[in-house]
């Protein structure tokens, strides 16, 4: 298991390297001259040249790329062109907000999605199933920004139950976490239901029932554990969508996280920030998928890692 984890970790390096090349050249295709933008509209041509030199933009591209990767490996992504502060400091300030929000959304949506999925599977083609699946298909069809605006106008502006913007107290987390997790909960519910239906028709479930195991035990012990295998994969994939989705939800709730930082950076063509953020977002995503692969082994003992 440990050796497998190590092997997979090393296997990430080429993918990450390609992602880094991608991100680096991506940004250099951006229209507009970053040095001119950093200097401001009124700066003289001389000042622009000075800033270009300062940022290392006058060097040939391969040299810039080397500088970028060696910096990135040390966690140094240069300075934000907008705030003149180190990019890592900017990101470090925002990161906990996005991480907490993502976890809050993930936890409620997984629990809720699993519950709805299991209940729907057990009561297949009956009222609870119809209700659950109607909720689920609506959940995947309702855009998160619309849901966020709706929740905010009803519960924050109208009823004043929750604060509208900011991220200071746990109460601030409730509406953004609901908004961000709704789609995931819906996908999890649909997926759990079909995984559960697949498992429930297997032979060992019939065996368990026929030897007189209580129905609740059949569902929880024999059913759930086996249905969890595809469900865990889905969770990993959904985590990636949460990271992406947080960009939109952060805009709606004016959340001081990485998503808003990224959008501001795109607006201002603050390319050191964009580079670092895209790289970190994909690093997170890749790591989560690795963790999911490793979780398989724990849930499903028939998988042996070599």
């Amino acid at each position: 298991m440990f050796r497998y984890a190590l092997k997979r970790l090393l296997g990430l390096i080429p993918t990450l390297f390609i992602v880094a090349i991608f991100v680096f050249f991506f940004i250099h295709l951006l229209p507009g001259d970053p040095a001119r933008l950093a200097a401001g509209q009124e700066a003289s041509a001389q000042d622009v040249e000075l800033i270009r030199k300062d940022l290392g933009l006058d060097k040939p591209l391969p040299q810039q790329f080397l500088r970028f990767t060696s910096g990135a490996l040390r966690g140094d992504f240069g300075k934000s062109m907008r705030t003149k502060r180190p990019v890592m400091t900017e990101i470090a300030e925002r990161f906990p907000y996005t991480l907490n929000l993502t976890f809050a959304a993930m936890s409620w949506s997984v629990v809720f999605g699993l519950l709805v999925g299991i209940i729907s599977a057990i009561h297949r083609n009956h009222l609870p199933d119809h209700l659950g699946m109607t909720l689920a298909v609506s959940g995947i069809s309702f855009p998160s920004f619309a849901l966020g605006l709706l929740l905010m106008s009803v519960f924050s502006v109208g009823l004043k139950w929750f604060p509208t913007v900011g991220a200071d107290t746990p109460r601030h987390y409730i509406l953004p976490a609901i908004t961000l997790g709704a789609g995931v909960a819906a996908v999890m519910a649909r997926f759990t239901r079909s995984a559960f239906l697949d498992v429930l028709k297997d032979d060992y479930i019939r065996t368990a029932r026929s030897k007189g195991v209580a129905e609740s035990m059949v569902i929880l012990k024999h059913g759930l554990r086996n249905a969890m295998i595809p469900v865990v994969t889905m969770m990993g994939l959904q985590f990636g969508f949460l990271l992406g989705g947080s960009i939109v939800v952060e805009r709606v709730f004016n959340w001081p996280g990485m998503g808003r930082l990224l959008l501001d950076a795109v607006d201002m063509r603050d390319y050191p920030v964009i580079q670092a953020e895209v790289l970190l977002f994909s690093l997170q995503f890749i790591l989560v998928n690795l963790v999911v692969d490793l979780l398989y082994g724990i849930i499903n003992p028939t998988i042996r890692y070599k």
Binding site: P31, F145, G240, F241, G245, V248, I274, F281, S282, Q284
Partner: protein
């Protein structure tokens, strides 16, 4: 005596039973008709008609969906906006599915180095979570609807490629493919006449679902100010404009939200119905 059914009539026999999917299909057809005839249906100019006397007015007989903060008729804007949402949805998925299918066929049929290169590229595309890739692409190419279509299309390529590769791999070892090869059919004939049709159920179900997701992604980009720009009546952009006055004029946000929701819902329900009708495993279960 067993009745011999063509795949098409077999599909129709099962699909016909899916009432919700049929209803969704009807709704989508209606939407397409509305989008095509938008110019004649919209009672007012969607971008350049301003009635300053009824700003933020609620729905009425003259203005079915009410009036927005600049005095524009919301019904006309929704109708004209349907063109954009449907066009971006269809175009991006068609482009993404076409590219992904081609890559998946090559990858699954030839395997070897082509397979490794294509799958590695897909891995890299998969390394960008959801909308991030689209934001990155729009950041490079700039905003506007055409670039949004490109950004959303790229998003569909890796999944289609993997799905098609998977079914190509399983189809190419079947006896009928071997038989065709043994009578001397060329690779192109085998791929396009015999393997491609076998992968179509997978592609159809996935792309139908994907249109819904793509419409949401495109609307999200416009909502973030990266896609269609005002005064274009794109639904996501309309929601973004509505944010400023949610208290006094909630209908400005509710109506475009409902438009996106119902459209995406229809595609998702249709996708569900198609899956149930095309999935051979399901019949054994029922």
């Amino acid at each position: 005596m067993t009745v011999v059914r063509s795949p098409w009539s077999e599909f129709w026999r099962k699909f016909r039973k899916q009432k919700l999917a049929l209803l969704s299909l009807a709704f989508i057809v209606l939407l397409v008709v509305i989008a095509l005839a938008a110019r004649w249906i919209a009672p007012f100019d969607a971008e350049n008609y301003f009635d300053y006397n009824c700003i933020n007015q609620l729905p009425s007989r003259a203005h079915w969906f009410g009036v927005d903060a600049l005095g524009r008729d919301i019904f006309s804007r929704i109708v004209v906006g349907s063109r954009i949402s449907l066009a971006t949805g269809f175009a991006s998925v068609a482009l993404g599915a076409f590219t992904g299918t081609a890559l998946g066929l090559v990858s699954g049929y030839y395997e070897g180095w082509a397979d490794r290169v294509i799958m590695r590229v897909c891995d890299v595309l998969f390394a960008f979570p959801g909308i991030l890739l689209a934001i990155g692409i729009v950041a490079v190419l700039g905003g506007g609807i055409f670039n949004v279509v490109m950004a959303v299309a790229i998003f569909s390529v890796p999944t289609t490629a993997r799905l098609v590769r998977g079914s190509t791999l399983s189809l190419k070892h079947l006896t009928y493919i071997e038989a065709i090869r043994s009578v001397g059919a060329s690779d192109a004939v085998i791929l396009f006449r015999h393997i491609l049709p076998g992968t179509i159920p997978v592609i159809v179900v996935y792309t139908t679902m994907r249109i819904g997701t793509s419409i949401i992604t495109a609307a999200s980009l416009s909502f973030l100010g990266l896609g269609a720009q005002p005064p274009t009546p794109e639904w996501g952009a309309m929601l973004n404009e509505a944010r400023t006055d949610m208290v006094n004029a909630p209908h400005l946000a509710i109506i475009p939200s409902l438009a996106i929701f119902l459209t995406v819902l229809a595609f998702n329900l249709l996708g569900d119905g198609l899956r149930d009708a095309l999935d051979p495993k399901l019949e054994q279960r029922c």
